[in-house]
Symmetry: C2
Subunit: 141 residues, 2 copies
DNA sequence: TCATTTTACTTCTGTTTTGAAAGTAATATT
DNA sequence: AATATTACTTTCAAAACAGAAGTAAAATGA
């Protein structure tokens, strides 16, 4: 997985990897919705194509956002879990959610409210990350 | 500028518009670097292609992130300025910067430090947005 | 046990997007 | 009046994407 970076800017470098329409949604699915298998990802609301899903998982793993493992009692399913690097995207995901809720509903009226998030951003981030860590630890036993 | 949204998720809807490698960099150039003309954008460190630049500016304008105007004494240059919707991306941009600085340097060693940002996030956001508003107001007279 | 289903992909094909270069038209400068 | 600058558009090859179909191993059901 070779990757050339366009500049020395941290924003540009982040977009060099996460700057597409799917990568951050996979992180969202893991962090917020607790998804962990290929099948679960493939059933997303946004209908990701299976080829794109495979390539994104590969890239996210190559760059250390996620890990891939098998559980002892299941030789078929792969379990994808966020690393600290991936979990650290929680504040970013919260900001995107808040911005999107505030400014995108005018374009997409279907967007829901997230009042809990607005009320206490820091608390929301902590709850999401703590919850994820707990659930992940439970999965790997 | 028609656009179909993939789902009711605010993250997905935001990515439907900003989920590419260039849009957020243009916002960055305006908000942080004070760029405002086509020429200035085209001279970015990341070497955006002129066709992509034109299409992104068009989309950002169509979705109300930026406005396009001419100054009374210059019939040639167009001045692009962020709207409130665009300025509101400051917290998101700060989060991306901080995340990128923390986690991307391992992949791209050229990335610089942003200690001021880390020290006080809220202050940094306020300074950037207040500065932008002031500079923009001065430009339009 | 053996057929069926499930999971996790890969492959194929047509379409869309991107990137690099060149071209154009109006305005501004020398 | 000639040249340069600005803001694009156009062109075209290459890369990325989307949807459908196919494959192989593992798990399940009869």
């Amino acid at each position: 997985m070779i990757k050339k970076f366009r500049s020395s800017c941290p924003i540009a470098s982040t977009l060099d990897i996460l700057g597409d329409k799917w990568s951050l949604l996979l992180i969202r699915d893991m962090l917020i919705k607790g998804k962990k298998t290929y099948k679960e990802f493939s059933l997303s609301d946004e209908k990701i194509a299976t080829g794109i899903l495979a390539s994104r998982l590969k890239q996210l793993e190559a760059f250390g956002f996620i890990t891939k493992r098998k559980l002892p009692d299941n030789k078929k399913e792969n379990i994808y879990l966020l690393t600290e690097k991936g979990i650290d995207l929680a504040p970013l995901i919260v900001e995107v959610t808040l911005w999107g809720e505030k400014h995108m509903r005018v374009h997409n009226p279907r967007i829901n409210s997230y009042d809990e998030l607005k009320a206490d951003k820091t608390l929301a981030i902590n709850m999401v990350t703590e919850n994820y860590r707990k659930v992940a630890a439970q999965i790997i036993g």
